[in-house]
Symmetry: D2
Subunit: 376 residues, 4 copies
């Protein structure tokens, strides 16, 4: 693991997720650039002292030199955005599979290079678009794939958070500090951090691609540099229309990602706050409450549940699903067999490029007087 | 009453609403242009046969000629959009107060003329933007007025319906037929029918005015002429940003008007499907569930409740609130006294002009390549 | 109307309900035993001064003496419990149909006499068990009648209120005062006031009859005389088991009547706080959200809706449904024709007797050391 | 681990829970009495082959003989109820701390012996009453402890499941088979399996003790031996009244444990299906939605959250909280220091005895004609 020292947020989440199924063991870490924190963090995690590093280059170097049976299988990168690309490239060059937080890189150009490297090396990259790991998200995707709703006409995806309603970045909140700093976060704040999740979810569930956008980004808290709010009108490649709304200043909201998709025959609704439920509405009959862990789910959804219906699974389980599918895929590939279809269902480098493109394009569109901007 | 024969929808709703509080009695009607329907409808409503008309002009003529104590106090117009203006003008000219369905007229120009006539005559006009009649909508407005949320930054208002997901207008649905016909409905379908409600609600609760828009209207069902779906990016006069989404092809949705408004300190959420609840969220403490009929409501909200908390009031009561407030205002004015503040809280001609402006501008903006269109 | 002066609660509700559909007009009233209040209340309601009475006997006497076309069609009695029986008997004797608030009488014996008088006179009595007027309650009943759930095994009905959590009856609350006074309310407080509604609802929806009970009543607020809380274990005539819970000291609750019924194949859930929704659960497929105003409802439910889906109807509409069905029944009987099946669906004298029996038996059971008490 | 082979349910849940925080590692197992399953299960879990046992006695024997630094710290017992006592006693005798599934033993007498042994040895026992591991359950407990609701008057706890609505035990469902078999499950089915959870939760949150009960157990599915449904009237040691309802034949329900507690000033409601929310109601102000992961939680609740608000945590995290607290307690005790207060908050042997007493008493009360049975 690169990044994720004891003072970080998402690194701890990665560890909870990778621990859960007992298939993955954290063996080495360059957990912080602060040697003291790196050391203490590694000890807290019971790492072998010889595998606690203060520098990712040294770690990748030394670990790559170990014999196959001792070598790390993959590297997880949980640093701020501007430190994704270099370690990911190096890890791939050293022959490691890679897990990297989203957005995949700092610039679109880097993302394309990384994707090329993944293709060149034949290694596997997992991009942690966590929300696609929820079983009911997979069920929604399957229903649309199966044509249950007919042609998709309309997509509304929204992601309100309220935690940046004040100038939190100046009050000692480290998370807020780097995320609102263009040097560390990139050219967008809110859209880069959560808008990309929303766009990814919309494309993942619908199976469609965004083709044109009209964006309106805002910095609603005075004194902030990057956008903390925005809305994007969407057009999809099949002619469907959509709206994406994301905000980090929706005061009082937690992490309320929600999506609604409507087709000719019905619509569906999924909200991350109640992730085990998928509402499916029909034109001429009662709406239905599909639930995780039940017997009527599709294989794709069922494979991502751990407990029977009524035992709520949450964010960490969704996260663990990404890791579990990724690990199953690696294991199969290591064994030289084809991974099961369900295992291959995790976001990768192509999603990462698409996310970086989204950031580029919403920023471009928002700055433009012209209504529509082509999405590549 | 003009329009609202036994085959109509909204006329019956008006009657339920005006009956409820026992303050208003329907005495005469030109309920249909079909003489047979007009007659049968009038009889079903126990009208005096001499006051059942087949023609609104005759009705206004004859009723205006009656002695004061027999005269109608006001005229309700519940015809399709293209027959709002002429009867409303005539009624005002004959000295009657007027209740008219929204959108107020067929064109913006007519709306302005009607507003001028209202001002000229000093008569009172009620425009039935029903949703502003709900007590928790009034509570939301009051909370913002009182500054509880701080400066408003963000408004999201949405209005999904699904009833036009098919080409219902060709399947004998009279409601659908005129609403999708530009000759009867006007230059917009979805935005005229429900988008106006959403815009009105946003301005009513927030106390702000829309200043710029960027609209994207769609006709998602093939074979239809007018828009059946759309989204509008909004900017408000205080710098707040917003999104308005309306659709009549959100398959499986009923009438799911919902609004969320966020300020510096918190946010609120109200949904018409559960109208007796207002969710108020705060930055640093638990969200609150404000409920109709409770003892802690503002005077403005409490005056629009009829029963104690836990006895759900709905759409008809909200509608009746408009009539009750209007009737109290008329009664006070007839008595030559100032109506109570709560009674004056109903939508009027200025809202009607603003609604017609909204229709004009969203159509104009949607057709434009330019991103932003000034709202007046 | 007898009772229901301007200082009363339920009388006003009755008037809202009977006004709504424009089929019933209040023409006379003995609205209060206080002559001043009776007069002022009558004037507020635009009653003819000659038909404002201060004494129900005089009213019934004089109204009965009027010619048929002027006579009242029926009498509504909305006095406290101890003044139900005498006016109801007299009204029946004078040939009037009767509407009476629940519980029907003060004692079981009176209830039986009243039922006998109804049968003897052939007149019609409406007992306002309001909650059976909701369309989704009727849909629930129909689903069970149609066997959709299979044999009913389990019924849970609950009715939490919190308004008597303090000794409100000593703080000038007139409602609380008579309802907690055994001389005016009868031998039970909570169970008489709301427990009877819950029991009635359970029997109405399930089509079953309670056959044995085990009751545990409590007076949880010190200084109160009658029960303000209780629970009853139930056994039904088909072998089903049940629990009824009612409380007026469930602090913070409003009027949260809710019922769940489970059969061999599925279960259903209805809650008065969201009355337009009926949840239907199945063993092996997604739960369903049935909604008022939709096209898929049974005739019995649809006949009790006034507006399309998504226009919430509430407590007053449920109440108005009782009146509308009752009025349709009277109208048909006056015309000498058989009322339509849907119109006959309102609670009557038999329900009133059963309610009084419930009160008697829960009080008896609660006082007993023996577990089970036969329900008649 | 004893029990929990690859064909079992709760063993897998224990492993997910103990893995999550990276503090506990499964090192040895007697996972099945079927040697083949034991072997395969152990291999799947990457156990050292020498520590895969087919017999818990051998395992305890051999593991106890290992040097301290290799020895297991504790033993988890996840066998059916009738195989809890013997391995737990032996483990304690061998000096191991113990984790055991509820109900703690097969008989009340065994439970008392086990409790005595725990006291005698000074070892630590964790009984997995999972639902007490949820942060919002702990918040509820804290609110009551702090007196926020005033004196508790009323407790309603319910636990509907529907999975035994058919004779599932005869359809090859191993879970159903042993749970409905008195030889493996004990003298109660539904009350032993889920009623004990409900009773434990009520006492845990309220801080009260049940003092009297009146139980009514049912076997509603023909052909079944043990109860599959029941209700219990409760009286608590402070005079509060309550009702406990549990059913495994509430067709269509999943695992819908829910509790409501009312005091003089307000009430609270928690439901396992939406475990991150605690509704708190007040007499004279809006109800509040308290949420997991927020900054305003008590220390006891906050210590049991892993992620910020809006990242739903579920059943596995609640389960992991038991393990994490237990592990922290062990670690502190091993280090000879006092465990932190939050770590000591997990169910133990006393809860186990109380659960067995509950089973004994509800069965006794249900068979009795007398209304009330003393609880101990």
């Amino acid at each position: 693991m690169i990044g994720g020292g004891k003072d970080a947020f998402i690194g701890a989440v990665h560890r909870l997720a990778l621990n859960m199924d007992g298939q993955i063991e954290l063996k080495a870490g360059a957990l912080s650039i602060d040697p003291q924190i790196a050391k203490e963090s590694g000890e807290m995690l019971f790492l072998d002292p010889s595998r606690i590093y203060t520098d990712y280059k040294t770690m990748l170097e030394e670990e790559a030199a170990k014999p196959a049976e001792e070598r790390l299988d993959f590297i997880t990168i949980v640093t701020p955005n501007f430190v994704h690309f270099a370690p990911a490239m190096l890890a791939l060059e050293k022959g490691f599979h890679v897990v990297v937080e989203k957005p995949m890189t700092f610039t679109l150009e880097e993302a394309r290079q990384l994707q090329a490297k993944v293709e060149e090396t034949g290694l596997t990259l997992l991009l942690t678009h966590t929300y696609t790991g929820y079983p009911m998200v997979k069920q929604a995707r399957q229903l649309i794939k199966d044509g249950a709703l007919g042609k998709v006409r309309k997509i509304w995806v929204e992601y309100p958070q309220g935690w940046l309603s004040k100038l939190t970045e100046r009050e000692g909140n480290a998370q807020a500090a780097w995320r609102t700093d263009p040097k560390k976060s990139g050219k967008s704040g809110c859209m880069g951090d959560i808008g990309t999740h929303a766009a990814n979810l919309a494309e993942y569930i619908s199976g469609l691609k965004i083709s044109q956008i009209c964006a309106d980004l805002h910095t609603l808290v005075e004194g902030r540099v990057l956008d903390d709010d925005g809305a994007v009108l969407l057009r999809f490649d099949n002619g469907a229309a959509g709206v994406l709304m994301a905000s980090q200043v929706a005061a009082g909201e937690e992490n309320a990602l929600k999506i609604r998709i409507y087709g000719e025959n019905g619509g569906l609704e999924w909200a991350q706050h109640e992730p085990n439920t998928l509402i499916v509405r029909w034109l001429d009959k009662p709406a239905e409450i599909w639930r995780a862990g039940t017997g009527y789910l599709s294989e794709a959804a069922a494979a991502n549940c751990r407990t029977p219906a009524g035992h709520p699974e949450g964010y960490l389980e969704a996260f663990a699903n990404l890791y579990r599918n990724f690990a199953q895929t690696l294991a199969a590939r290591i064994d030289g067999v084809e991974p099961p279809a369900a295992a291959l269902d995790f976001p990768g480098a192509a999603d990462g490029v698409r996310g970086m493109l989204f950031i580029d394009k919403v920023v471009e569109s928002s700055a433009s007087d012209q209504k529509w901007t082509k999405f590549e």
